[in-house]
Amino acid sequence: MNLKAETLSRIDEVIPHYPVKRSAALPLLHLVQEDQGYVSSEAIEWIAEKLGLQPINVYELVTFYPMFRQKPIGRRHIKVCRTLSCAIMGGYRTCAEFQKQFETRLGDVSPGGDVTVEFVECLASCGTAPVVMIDDELHERVDAARARELSDKIKAGAPTDTGRR
């Protein structure tokens, strides 16, 4: 496991917050995923060892929560909302446009490793549907045209930040 020094110190800091070590499994998984982009089987075994568990106990957790990834993703993570408001307002078209722009399919890493496009459930901004999150940035009213714009910026390596989180 090649974790950053900062991640390691945060891990050591978070474990004693819980009455039993086992309870720190979820925060540790988040920290490791933040650090590595995904939770590898090596990471599962490392966390189990760290918390005095068996790997299967951590593996059960990882497979339960859809937001833990077991495979690496692209450099940017595009999350398109597909819950009711966004679905009505064209979230699916937005998603299709992103996939077309990056010649990729849902959940895959695009050729070149730029992005991974995924559907997610409600991002809590129904008034400005369809909404998309790119990593931690919230993008509102992303229709197909806006999706193209954002894609071009990502391809060019330009910042896409809107300041919204």
């Binding site: 089987s41 068996q54 790997p55 299967i56 106990n57 593996y59 059960e60 497979t63 339960f64």
Partner: protein
């Protein structure tokens, strides 16, 4: 007579039947005592309670008390204390008894609950009972007949999950049949201490699996198959071999070590198909090791001795007995007994040694104990040899004294009761120097070197008793007839004793026991027929000082046997 109320007993009412049960008993166990069946899947008496199958829902009521005064509220109609019935059902496995608890298991609500739970359990369960190995001993099958609604309202598609997953070398998993009771997971974690199983993708697609790259291959893995209430976990050895309802069950004992796990041998038409554990809360709970389950394969293993032989050629039993007596009659005889023989055989071996005025020695078999049900002493009946007086001390690993006596010429003939002398350290030259009479089940260096060979029976083919590490004498019964040509050990030993000048003591366990109880004080009150199924604890204190090989294991602490016996007496 009115029994005085015991402080540890709590009176509860199950379907109106009053019963006093120990504190801490749950509703399922309490109901079992009044013959009320509370159906369940996930609950297992030897595992922790999780309450995830919901099958054991019952109606519960507590005696009514006035909230202000805490005085019992009486029902004027009956003159008894009123019962406050809970409006909703509760699970029996996780409800421990409390004083005056009332349980109803026959009401419409309980019936509806069971039907509902069964309906959900069956939604994704494949209807493959006709090809399923569990059929006939499947709780799901039994309880859907007993408590289910009888027809399915489910019109949607069933889930598709992995089938034929090999969890380990001996256990096969069909995930579609799994009802997610988690017994196997808890067993692996709590008893086998090998936490490799778990549920992944929890939700509609919950799947039982092993951690990728690991296997369920500990020596207790087949217990998960036994406790699986459905056909999800099956034994790779028994799978598709035989329908369980055709099999005859015979109580037996696991002979792989001195733990003496109680077993059931399942056979049909003289063929053994599988060996499973039998509950004995003082010995093996409901478990046994995988290694003990394959011992039945010895019955038909290559090298099984199936003819009486004298000087290498087939012979009649009478002739062979005569030949053996002639060899032994020349003097200089020694006897090698066995910690694998039954109590009766050891007694006759002792009688043979006495008739020949020979010394009997035993061979030890020490391995590593696993702290559970395979103990360090791999001889199942060393304590039997002590009790019957065949040996006064623990056996040694090699026959050093015997080897010296052979070298010096003091011993010229040896009777070996099932022990391979070559494996016990005698050299080829030493074995060539003596005349060997061998009683055994399988061919080995000793049977090949022997002048007289008597083919005998395996534990599955005879009756007998064994004394385990706790000094518990346990009985096993004949499951299948002996292979053609083999002779009962007791017949050979008894007739050998009489041919060598001793008294004839009979060739069946009943008759041998008459002599056994008369001569061995420790067994005076015992007959073969009155040993209970769970065994009988003997007083081990005369041998308490011996350095037994066993370490602590399930229900055994070294040095605790005499105290246990004393407490019983």
């Amino acid at each position: 007579m009115i029994q005085p109320a015991s402080p540890d007993l709590i009176t509860v009412y199950i379907d109106g039947k009053e019963i006093a049960v120990p504190k801490g008993t749950n509703v399922i166990e309490a109901a079992k005592r009044v013959n009320v069946d509370v159906p369940h899947y996930c609950y297992h008496p030897k595992l922790t309670v999780v309450g995830n199958c919901r099958m054991c829902l019952v109606e519960m009521g507590l005696p009514a008390v006035d909230p202000a005064t805490k005085a019992p509220v009486m029902d004027p109609a009956t003159g008894k204390q009123k019962v406050n019935w809970m409006p909703r059902p509760t699970i029996g496995c996780a409800t421990n008894v409390s004083p005056g608890l009332h349980i109803r298991t026959t009401t419409q609500m309980v019936k509806d609950c069971r039907e509902g739970v069964m309906e959900f359990l069956l939604i994704n369960h494949p209807l493959d009972c006709p090809i399923c190995d569990q059929a006939g001993e499947c709780k799901l099958q039994e309880q859907s007949a007993g408590y289910g609604r009888g027809y399915s309202r489910f019109v949607e598609k069933k889930n598709v999950k992995p089938k034929r997953t090999l969890l380990g070398p001996r256990v096969m998993l069909d995930d579609e049949r799994c009802i997610l009771c988690s017994r196997c997971i808890r067993f692996s974690k709590e008893v086998a201490k090998d936490d490799v199983l778990g549920f992944i993708d929890r939700g509609s697609y919950s799947t039982l699996t092993c951690y990728p790259g690991r296997k369920l291959e500990n020596n207790y893995s087949l217990n998960t198959v036994d406790i699986c209430p459905v056909g999800a976990l099956t034994s790779t050895d028994f799978r598709f071999k035989m329908r369980v309802w055709f099999l005859k069950q015979t109580n037996s004992i696991d002979t792989e070590s001195s733990a003496g796990a109680n077993t059931v041998v399942w056979s049909r038409e003289g063929v053994v198909y599988r060996v499973t554990p039998r509950q004995n809360d003082a010995v093996n709970d409901t478990w046994m090791a995988d290694s003990g389950r394959v011992l039945y394969k010895e019955i038909r293993a290559a090298g099984r001795l199936d003819s009486v032989r004298v000087e290498g050629s087939e012979s009649a039993l009478e002739f062979a007995l005569g030949a053996a007596a002639a060899i032994l009659g020349k003097g200089g005889a020694a006897v090698v007994g066995s910690g694998r023989s039954t109590v009766e055989e050891q007694f006759l071996t002792r009688k043979l040694a006495e008739a020949l005025k020979a010394k009997a020695s035993l061979v030890s078999r020490v391995g590593e104990g696993d702290g559970l049900l395979v103990t360090a002493d791999r001889n199942p009946n060393v304590r039997g040899a002590l009790v019957t007086g065949l040996a006064a001390e623990l056996p040694s690993a090699t026959l050093g004294t015997l080897a010296e006596q052979i070298d010096s010429g003091a011993v010229t003939s040896v009777v070996s009761v099932g022990e391979d002398l070559a494996a016990a350290g005698l050299s080829e030259a030493q074995m060539a120097k003596i005349s060997i009479i061998y009683l055994g089940t399988h061919a080995n260096a000793t049977s090949r070197a022997a002048r007289v060979v008597f083919p005998t029976l395996t534990v599955f083919e005879k009756h007998g008793t064994l004394v385990n590490q706790q000094f518990r004498i346990q009985r096993f019964a004949k499951a299948v007839p002996g292979v053609a040509g083999a002779v009962d050990d007791l017949t050979v030993l008894s007739r050998l004793v009489s041919a060598c000048g001793g008294a004839y003591l009979g060739s069946d366990v009943g008759t041998v026991w008459t002599a056994l109880s008369a001569e061995v004080p420790a067994l005076a009150a015992i007959r073969y027929s009155n040993i209970p199924d769970t065994g009988l604890l003997l007083d081990g204190s005369p041998w308490a000082a011996l350095p037994f090989a066993e370490g602590a294991s399930l229900h055994y602490k070294p040095g605790s046997a005499p105290q246990e016996a004393a407490a019983r007496g």
